[in-house]
């Protein structure tokens, strides 16, 4: 009989993350071996290698010189953490749309808890809860991440985090592997012990002395023996060998701040461009902040002059707010205090911080606010943008950017890829 998932976790992991991001951003790199970690002459190691390079034997953590010997025609790149963070954020915002419970394990890897979403997807797929086709949901996620970031993601589906994560390794590259409920133990049994996350060469070596090479063999060791040998970790091993893992995702951490910044195509002192760009960056930051239900108590503005001098100022607001119009008033006020030299700017940025879940707005005696109107307007704009892309609505002084910035549904094309999804 078909068993039902009582819990359902998906694990998503980018394929060759850094290298794939580079390939996605530069079409010239598509299909070529790409190695991120440094120039081929650098005395560093491979941080990420594209599948084209892996085919020639290049592996992560291999010295670059060795990679160069294996794959002399590879494109070697230093890489940019900023670009990877941006791609990662884009992917996680896709995940967030599929389930409210997402745990980021690292930049390129995350868990999605669907345990309490079955009814929602049953409704969408017009079927009963137990009949939801999770494979289709995973495919939708894959496609959307690919569309947003240009990078392939592999997905493992299982009843717990352990099984989902192991399934992902088998799904790579660019695949989906689903472990049916009730088959967890059978799924892990034939794998080498090294397939269990956390078992490194040292643990594998110790297990080797017990003549344990596969997970199936591991199940023959008693819990007592494992605890005596490995301490508390022995208990984890005992469960893992039987396909039992955690189903609990820690609650998402509230970010400390949300920033958006970008470098101008050419340094500028044109106030309409500077104010327009700050408005656009503020909108992007505030949109992100609202999407996670937060409000900001503090705003800061950062500028970098042509000579690379950087100035930043911040201001604590009277009360937390999530309204663009109020935040922008402070941004303009701060811009006056940082744009004080007669020199062009090369970069501007906005940071929202002291974030909280405040849900009230204190009205003013002398300046009647249009709080409810602004709030409702933004709610609608956010909905439109979530559906048709950020660039589907251009508002306020961001209109200033239209004359000399290319634009698509994702928004204006800026030099910061995070803002050019």
């Amino acid at each position: 009989m078909l068993q039902l998932y009582s819990t359902l976790i998906m694990h998503a992991d980018f394929d060759a993350f850094f290298a794939s991001v580079e390939q996605a951003l530069d079409p010239n790199l598509a299909g070529r071996p790409v190695i991120v970690g440094g120039r081929e002459t650098d005395r560093s190691v491979v941080a990420s290698a594209s599948y084209e390079a892996r085919a020639l034997g290049v592996k992560t953590a291999m010295p670059l010189s060795q990679a160069k010997r294996l794959c002399p025609r590879a494109v070697f790149l230093r890489g940019s953490h900023k670009r990877y963070t941006a791609a990662s954020q884009a992917a996680f915002s896709v995940f967030d749309r599929y389930t409210p419970t997402v745990q980021s394990a690292s930049l390129d890897e995350g868990y999605l808890d669907f345990t309490h979403c079955a009814r929602l997807y049953a409704w969408e797929q017009k079927c009963l809860e137990h009949a939801v086709d999770w494979q289709t949901v995973a495919e939708q996620i894959k496609n959307e991440v690919k569309q947003q970031t240009g990078v392939n993601v592999s997905i493992g589906i299982g009843s717990n985090k352990l099984v989902a994560k192991i399934a992902t390794t088998l799904a790579k590259p660019n695949g989906i592997v689903q472990v049916w409920p009730g088959y967890e133990a059978a799924f892990v049994a034939p794998l080498p012990v090294g397939a269990i996350p956390g078992i490194g060469s040292r643990t594998a070596e110790i297990l080797g002395t017990f003549n344990v090479k596969t997970v199936d063999q591991l199940t023959r060791l008693s819990r007592d023996l494992l605890v005596r040998t490995f301490g508390t970790y022995g208990r984890v091993l005992y469960s893992a060998a039987r396909g039992i893992g955690s189903v609990v995702l820690p609650p998402p951490e509230r970010p400390k701040s949300i920033s958006r910044e970008t470098t101008f195509e050419a340094d500028t002192d044109d106030p309409t461009t500077i104010e327009g760009m700050l408005y656009y960056l503020l909108e992007r930051a505030a949109h992100q902040m609202r999407s996670i239900g937060l409000r900001a108590r503090s705003v800061s503005v950062r500028v970098r002059y042509s000579d690379f001098q950087t100035l930043a100022k911040s201001k604590r607001l009277d009360q937390p707010t999530h309204l663009d119009v109020e935040l922008y008033r402070t941004v303009l006020h701060l811009l006056e205090r940082v744009h004080i030299r007669r020199m062009r700017l090369r970069l501007v940025g906005v940071t929202l911080s002291q974030l909280s879940e405040a849900r009230s707005y204190q009205e003013d005696l002398f300046n009647p606010s249009d709080y409810a109107a602004h709030r409702d307007l933004l709610e609608s704009v956010d909905r439109i943008r979530n559906r048709y892309g950020f660039g589907s609505v251009i508002a306020g002084r961001a209109l200033n950017l239209m004359k000399d910035h290319a634009r698509d549904s994702g928004g204006f094309q800026l030099r910061t890829p995070a803002l050019t999804r």
Partner: protein
């Protein structure tokens, strides 16, 4: 110069005078308090925005002259409350302080470098009862702003027109107006926007003892005079808002509330708010006022008090602290609350003398 002063009186006076001593100043001489002995002993302090002069009562003058005493050092001596009296003497290279077996030397600074106290003679002033005035400033000062950007709100507006004396303060979210009849100053115009620091100094001076205070203002300064002390304070520049326009003439929905019960219920609900979600919802219906509070981490509270409310059922959200601040400065048994709807201000009054206007919160 040589004098002997009562330590109890010095302690009280020092507490008042130090409000005018700047924390940091480009002029180090201002970190001192000047003591001058002639026919009587006078203490003065100033940060150039506010100046206080105090005439000492219990001092024995052995020799006339002027000395400077570091305010902070003396405060620390007084904190130990070491004796009944203290001797001060100007020496060649500074000041000597002593009592019992303890003795201190302060390095010399030239008392002539200390700014002179302004003259009060010839100022047009009017008199008002000390207790009444103190009540007025205490009932209003709490609602003043503490903000750089709304500079003109960082104080209390004192106003005399005809026989009515008013104090008004607002931070833009709430406004307090306290008023009294004042017989002194007939036909005199008086309007002064006094910074909170000045208000604080006046309050402290009135807590020493006296029966009345005289007030006057000209050229951007406030002059205040009691039996023992004189205060001059630079007024706030900028325009205080047209406050009368935001005081509702009166709403249809009125409810009489027991002040202490309301405060107690609000404190209970307030315990279930957080700094992030400082909000309570007040639900008015026939016979009852229900106050609720809730936060994602702080839990939920629902408290009910019986009231004589006859109007339509209504929900309004407020920062509970605003109400509690108001309850604290009143002594009346009951207050009258007038409300209109969830978006309009609420008006709380205690007779004719006290009016408090509070803006609501918009809740999502």
């Amino acid at each position: 110069m040589k004098i002997k002063m009562s330590l109890a009186e010095l302690s009280a006076a020092w507490g008042v005078l130090t409000t005018a001593v700047p924390q940091r100043s480009p002029r180090p001489v201002l970190s001192n308090i000047k003591i001058r002995s002639a026919e009587q002993v006078e203490l003065s302090a100033t940060d150039l925005d506010i100046g206080i002069r105090y005439v000492f009562e219990e001092a024995q003058i052995e020799d006339q002259g002027e000395i400077l005493v570091n305010a902070e050092k003396m405060s620390r001596i007084l904190r130990e409350n070491p004796s009944d009296s203290i001797e001060m003497e100007g020496t060649e290279n500074g000041t000597r302080l002593s009592y019992g077996s303890d003795e201190f030397h302060l390095p010399g600074e030239d008392p002539s470098h200390f700014p002179a106290s302004p003259e009060f003679k010839g100022k047009k002033m009017f008199e008002i009862d000390k207790g009444v005035f103190q009540t007025l400033i205490r009932q209003t000062a709490f609602s003043a702003a503490h903000e750089e950007t709304r500079y003109a709100l960082n104080g209390v507006l004192l106003e005399l027109s005809g026989t009515e004396f008013k104090a008004v303060a607002t931070d833009g979210k709430r406004l307090t107006l306290a008023r009294t009849k004042c017989k002194g100053g007939k036909g005199m115009e008086f309007k002064a926007l006094v910074p909170l620091k000045g208000i604080q100094a006046l309050d402290k001076i009135l807590s020493l003892d006296d029966v009345s205070i005289e007030l006057g203002a000209d050229d951007g300064n406030l002059y205040a005079k009691t039996k023992r002390a004189e205060v001059i304070c630079r007024l706030l520049e900028g325009n205080f808002p047209e406050y009368e326009e935001v005081i509702p003439k009166g709403y249809e929905n009125r409810v009489k509330l027991n002040r202490q019960v309301l405060a107690s219920k609000l404190r209970l609900a307030d315990a279930f708010t957080t700094e992030e979600t400082k909000a309570v919802k007040m639900h008015f219906e026939k016979g009852n006022l229900t106050i609720t509070a809730q936060g994602p981490e702080s839990g939920e509270a629902r408290v009910v008090m019986a009231v004589e409310y006859e109007g339509a059922p209504m929900d309004i959200a407020f920062n509970p602290q605003y109400f509690l601040d108001g309850m604290k400065v009143l002594t009346d048994e009951s207050v009258l609350l007038e409300i209109q709807d969830a978006n309009a201000s609420a008006k709380l009054t205690a007779g004719e003398a006290f009016t408090y206007v509070i803006m609501p919160l918009s809740l999502d």
